[in-house]
Symmetry: C2
């Protein structure tokens, strides 16, 4: 399983992914699920992936080698806009489905993936997309400034409650770490370390890319303080007045 979350904020993008993959509970490995293409001053694109690792790795390889679209072969380094980049990822997914789908189906393996693509290409705005296994996609907006893929439910309530498009990046980082922590605690198939990327709107370079391990002092502090704050918060709630003694 996987948990990846992306924030679409006025100040920029925050993207976070875990690194655990599992083929059954007794075959657990660490694989990065964040891929980044950066041409400083010109473009930054980051892709997060969830689902069947053989499929998502193959999709990424197609994107590296180039995908034929309308008579030209494009990569994430040459595609002219973020919209076209999302289409390109979708096209790569469809190519993998065409090539591997029948064999997977014959083995009873579903073609089950989802991808997130965020970034900015010079001349256009910063954007964040979620690409489905059919190659179609949706985009984060001001109304719903976050997207999630994989095991998304445990980490959703805090985002539903606290996140807005105007949330500063520094606060967004705290929120995705809390969201990830809730998921890590409740689902063992989502695991540390985690990969964080920050992109500031119009910077056209990666703002920060950092792998956080179990020993990261900041992440540890967030986990401990958050648990303590929740316990404190519920203890501070008065008991119901209708509760019999």
């Amino acid at each position: 399983m996987t948990y990846c979350v992306g924030l679409y904020l006025r100040e920029g993008l925050v993207m976070l992914s875990d690194t655990r993959t599992n083929a059954g509970v007794d075959n657990i490995s660490t694989f990065g699920k964040m891929q980044v293409e950066e041409v400083p001053g010109e473009r930054v694109l980051a892709m997060l992936s969830a689902g069947n690792l053989a499929i998502t790795q193959t999709v990424w390889n197609h994107l590296q080698e180039g995908v034929w679209v309308g008579g030209e072969k494009l990569t994430l380094r040459t595609v002219p806009s973020m919209f076209r980049a999302a289409q390109l990822v979708g096209q790569a997914v469809r190519e993998v489905f065409a090539a591997d789908g029948p064999a997977l189906s014959a083995q009873g393996v579903s073609f089950d993936i989802s991808l997130m693509l965020g970034g900015q290409i010079a001349g256009g705005p910063s954007r964040l997309f979620l690409i489905y296994s059919a190659g179609n996609f949706i985009e984060a907006t001001i109304d719903t400034p976050f997207l999630q893929i994989g095991e998304h439910k445990y980490g959703k309530p805090i985002l539903d409650r606290a996140l807005e498009y105007g949330t500063p990046i520094a606060d967004g980082v705290k929120l995705v770490l809390v969201s990830m922590d809730s998921t890590l605690r409740s689902n063992l198939t989502v695991g540390l370390p985690i990969d964080l990327l920050i992109y500031r709107t119009d910077s056209l370079e990666v703002g920060l890319r950092r792998r956080l391990t179990e020993d990261d002092p900041y992440f540890r502090m967030v986990r401990e303080r958050w648990s303590a704050a929740l316990r404190e918060a519920y203890l501070r709630l008065p008991p119901p007045d209708w509760l019999p003694a």
Copy 2:
């Protein structure tokens, strides 16, 4: 969809269920999912249900009319122990499966339910069970003092973090309300009003049974204060020291 949660605490049991059912997004109704049998001084049993409503209502009717087990017809009012009560519920589930399973299957409807049974019968301890659609069941223990059925993920992190067997009932009530609130906010197919039952160990009578609507002042206060407390808690976290300005 449904969300039901039960706490198994030293002081007693806390059980909470929502009331929303849906057959598609355009057919939404309110049905109680909490059934209670009480013989004051002798027994209290409460059953919560999730999944196909036609199945769970039929199971409850079987339990009311009596289920044949080992040559005798038993109901939740006559069964001699909580373990036997859980078996009886499982047996009722299997009878409904035997009667309705083939016809449901022919229509492509899965036999998909889960039930929670909590309570105490004089002479035995207070216990809390989760009964699956195969009629088998598990029991809450001191190590994991809560059970959930239905849409359980949104409301699990707070329980994972804060709940212990020794948590007082008054605090348990706050926790299940917070857990329900997280679920209500994130999944529209879980809906108000909600039904709460409290049972105090060895009292052998229902401690409290209360329906909480959207207008309930206490539940409103919990929802508002909890959201405010979460926002405050994350804002109080210091920003990462590795974050570039």
